[in-house]
Symmetry: D2
Subunit: 191 residues, 4 copies
């Protein structure tokens, strides 16, 4: 499994869903490219988990995606926050886009994230790299209670035990430094 | 509505439920009184809330209890952690005791609490007072999705908008300094 | 004391400090206006506090600023994160700009904020309003150990006891909904 | 380097410092043994770190201790909270006991811990084991700015880069499951 940083944090190209005409939050490809070189872009990311009856994480969900080059890569639920959109709306939209309408995520009661990740196009500034942009990402751990049917370009959600998700082999499949991010996010829920 | 600090954080007298013979975690009234004067006692407290579809708190639940003296007082879900019991087990047990078996609480994915409250029998050490003991309480905000039917000595769960829960009149009905604690716990979820 | 939402979160006009030629993070006034209407802008805000020897907050610092219209208004340390700049660099830069070089802030060990505030130009979407832009602000409580000499347009840092900072009279002097934000941020440190 | 779970979380035997006569918080060895079998004991633990000018963790401190059996083991700053003592007082006392009076720790502005660890005498209940007791431990990451001169039974504080502290070889030297705890605590500060 190879690593393709160009494909992430999400696969909006330019946007995952058409928006009403005149919506300033929806950007053409040119506009998106322009602002991406001028401002840090706000992202939300979510690590889907399943809990037992006492709230302990028993499974971690990772998305499997194919890149345009035909390679497979793992990722979180992820996407940018549009102009005029709240963090909660963006988080819900991306959860629905990536996990399908029957995932029934338990939306967090607080918008304070579990972790904050800073992605830069140039390596070395932080632990996280995104070739397309400087992104500031608020990372949540989101329990889901329903059935995940990935839409868009994600092929499937792979569920695994926390120990498997934290194994070096899995962490190394997450591009752009997200292996460390997954480790940190799961640490916050005692894994 | 008067304030009776002797009745709280919970109404275990000596224990809320019989335990199997020989269980070292179950204490007789004498033993409980002895250890209460020797060690800080670990508590869990929970503020029940209802969320909208995006995770925003729309209602806050407060328990209404009658004291032995016939007075009414407000409280959280609350109780001590027994020897050999995990925090999650204690939290779940007290949620069930205080809200009934049909409340369907969303147990937190992390045991890191929203707030920590320190109760002392003598006023002035911290903002929180408990005449019976020195208690260290881990405070959670817990979304509930079902129906609450208080058991034990709680008369009812009163649901109110966050703004009403945060009104001075409500906060002052919470004994032992818990008005400030409610304010802090709700601040953590953006209220 | 009046409220002028147009002046905040910060007073960059267009930018608080010249940047090297060709720096894509430094925006002309036109560019800033364009992107502000297209993307949420990442902000950092800091509530300066003084701690006693055990870490308890004993004083809260609020900036007093004069608006171009000659009115006085209270604010936090605040400013946007530039393209290519880390959150820590932005936080440090704005602390130094607003408190002076001798404030000696204790930079947080974690970039996970105490609160996240979402500002919108249109009221009603969230509790926070900023006429200029949609901003997502990461809010920190930052202990300072030195002497504050506000630079730029801030007239002074007013230090007050937490109870005074939380008094209705003070909270109402903070524009754009930041009264609630101050209350929430201080709740996180037990005030 | 061997693992001796009986020696930790701290080396109070029965108490690390004499207390004034009649202090109910100071327990004789018999009393401590009695209550340890009846109630969870409240602990505070601290991972000492050094920060760079922007708040980033650059070094992690681990205590090296000799056990009564002459073996070496790594540990955090750690100890119980006495009756009548606040969490801040206990944290400060144990930091001073374990790091010496010139360590100048930056006490946390909040008592909400970075992690909560639950130790049980019997393995399998949680990830953490303490042969002596059921302990609920509030774990903090504490920046120190001075010089550490361990007192009591600690031989030295070893400073190492975060990557070295997180190496499997180091984590496995921490007894009672504290390797996972160190990983989780450092995750909270972005390591």
């Amino acid at each position: 499994m190879s690593i393709d940083t160009a494909e992430l944090p999400d696969a909006e190209g330019p946007e995952d869903r058409p928006a009403p005409a005149g919506n300033p939050g929806w950007l053409s490809e040119d506009e998106l490219n322009f602002v991406r070189g001028r401002l840090p872009v706000v992202y939300v990311e979510a690590v889907p988990v399943r809990l037992d009856g006492l709230g302990q994480v028993i499974e971690v969900g990772l998305l499997l995606r194919g890149t345009p080059e035909g390679e497979m890569t793992r990722s979180f639920v992820s996407g940018r926050v549009r102009y005029g959109e709240t963090l909660r709306e963006a988080l819900f939209r991306h959860l629905e886009n990536d996990l399908g309408p029957m995932a029934f995520p338990q939306m967090p009661a607080t918008v304070v994230p579990m972790q904050v990740a800073e992605y830069f196009p140039m390596p070395g500034i932080s632990a996280y790299v995104d070739a397309r942009q400087h992104a500031v990402s608020l990372v949540y751990v989101v329990p889901v209670t329903g059935t995940c049917n990935p839409r868009q370009d994600a092929l499937e959600v792979t569920w695994m035990a926390p120990s498997e998700a934290l194994a070096e082999a899995t962490l190394s499949e997450l591009p752009g430094g997200r292996g460390a991010l997954l480790r940190q996010a799961l640490a916050g829920v005692g894994c």
